[in-house]
Symmetry: C2
Amino acid sequence: MFAYRKDQSRPNTLGSLGFTTTSKPTVNLSEFKYQRKAEIFGEGEPAVYVYQVKRGAVRSYKLLNDGRRQIGAFHLVDDIFGIENGAKHRFTTEAVVETIVCLIRRESLQLEAERDAAVSRSLLRLTSRNLEHAEDHMLLLGRKTAVERVAAFLQEMDRRTGTNCLSLPMGRRDIADYLGLTLETVSRAVSRLHSEGVLKFVGRTQREIVILNREKLQSFDLVN
Amino acid sequence: MFAYRKDQSRPNTLGSLGFTTTSKPTVNLSEFKYQRKAEIFGEGEPAVYVYQVKRGAVRSYKLLNDGRRQIGAFHLVDDIFGIENGAKHRFTTEAVVETIVCLIRRESLQLEAERDAAVSRSLLRLTSRNLEHAEDHMLLLGRKTAVERVAAFLQEMDRRTGTNCLSLPMGRRDIADYLGLTLETVSRAVSRLHSEGVLKFVGRTQREIVILNREKLQSFDLVN
DNA sequence: CGATCCTTTGAAGGACGTCAAGGTCTGTGG
DNA sequence: CCACAGACCTTGACGTCCTTCAAAGGATCG
C-alpha cells in the first residue's frame, strides 16, 4: 500500500507563505502563489487565514498514522476553504497544480461577522454547503461501488466546472484518495466508462475528458 | 444484499406526529413520542421543525435507489437534529427505540437568530460540529478497515454516553450501515475485540458492553 | 412454548487491492 | 534532434478482505 508521510519539519503557515504580492502585511486581502504540491496549511495548525482559490486547484485531506490518505474535498477557482469554527485547521491542504489564493485574516472575518449579520449568514451558508457535500460523500464512501463513485466524481466535476470539456487538475491517485479507492481501480473504472462510450479523451493526457453521454453516465450512479 | 424500501405512502411530518403532549399547537415547544422504527421526517420533505432528543435514540440516513443505506449519524439524548440551511431535510430520520423528542418551529428559530446574535452563533457552532463529525466519518468510511471502524464506533459511543457501561440502542445492522459494512462483518469484529479481551458483554443481550481495555481499543484505531 | 427477531459463525464467492510490467508524455542534457 | 530519466496511466495476474449465503443459537413476546 502506498503511504503518505507527514512532513514533520515544515515551517508554520505564515513562514511558508512566500510573498508574491506587494500588499502590506496589515492589509486584509493578499494574494499568494503556491507551487504544485506545496502545502498551504497543515492539519492541527492554528487557523489564521481563510482562503479563496483564484487560480489552480487545492486538495484538503486527512492522514492516518500509517499513511492512508482521505481527501475530503477539492477546491476549485472561487471556492473558499480553510474556514474553521475552532482554533485549528482540521485538514491539510496542498496545491494540486500551481495555484493562486487570496487570503483573509480569520480574525477580521470574525469581527466583520459580529457587526454584519449578512456576513454571519454567508458564513453559516458556506459551512452548511460544506456539510451537505460531506453528507453526500459519506453515502458515496460507505455504499457506492467503484464505478458508481467514479461516475459521481465525473458528474460533480462536470457540474462544478461548467465547461463542456473536463480538464482535471488532479491525477488518478488524488481521485482515488477522494473516492476511497486505489488509483488502479479508478483507472479501470474510467477505462470502462470510456469503452462503453460514456466519455472520450481529448488532448494527449488522460485528464482532459469530454462527457459524450450524460444520461448514461447518470445511469452508472443511480442515487434515487 | 439487504435492501431498504422507502415507504411511499407515508403521511407527512405533521400528520405522522401523534400528539402525546397537552401543549397548544401555537406554542413553540412541544414534546412528541415516536415508537421504535417510526419515521420522524423523510429526506426531501420540507424542514418545518428542528428536533432535540429527550429520551431514546434516532438514526438519520440516506438511501440509494436499490435500498443500500448509509446512516450519517446517531442522535442521542440532548442531541439536536433536523437543522437545515435549505428548505428541505437531507436525511430520513427514524426512532431507533421508543423516543421522545422536543421540537421547535424552524421558522421561530430563524426569527430568533435574526434578532439574537448568540442564537445565530450557536446555530453556526452546531452546524460546524456536524461538519466536523462528517469529516471524521469520511476518513473512516474511505480508509479504515472493519476492525478499525468498529473500534472507532465503540470509542465514539463510549465518549458520548459518559457512563462506564455502553448500552447500545441500535442493533448490528444499524451499526453496519453507519460504518459502511455488513452486519456480519460488524459481528465478527466485535467478536474479535471480545476474544482479545478489549470488551465484555453484560446483561443478556449483546448490546450492553463494558470496555475492559481502553488503551487496547485505541490501538485498534490508531488515527495519529 | 412456538414465532419472530437478532446475533453469531462457517463456507464460498466476488469486488477491490496489491504487485508487476509496459506504454505515453515531459523535461533535460548530450 | 535524440537519448534518457521520471512521472503518470493502463492493464494483467493474483491475493485478500469483506460480502453473500446459509444455518443455528439465544432472547423476547405473544
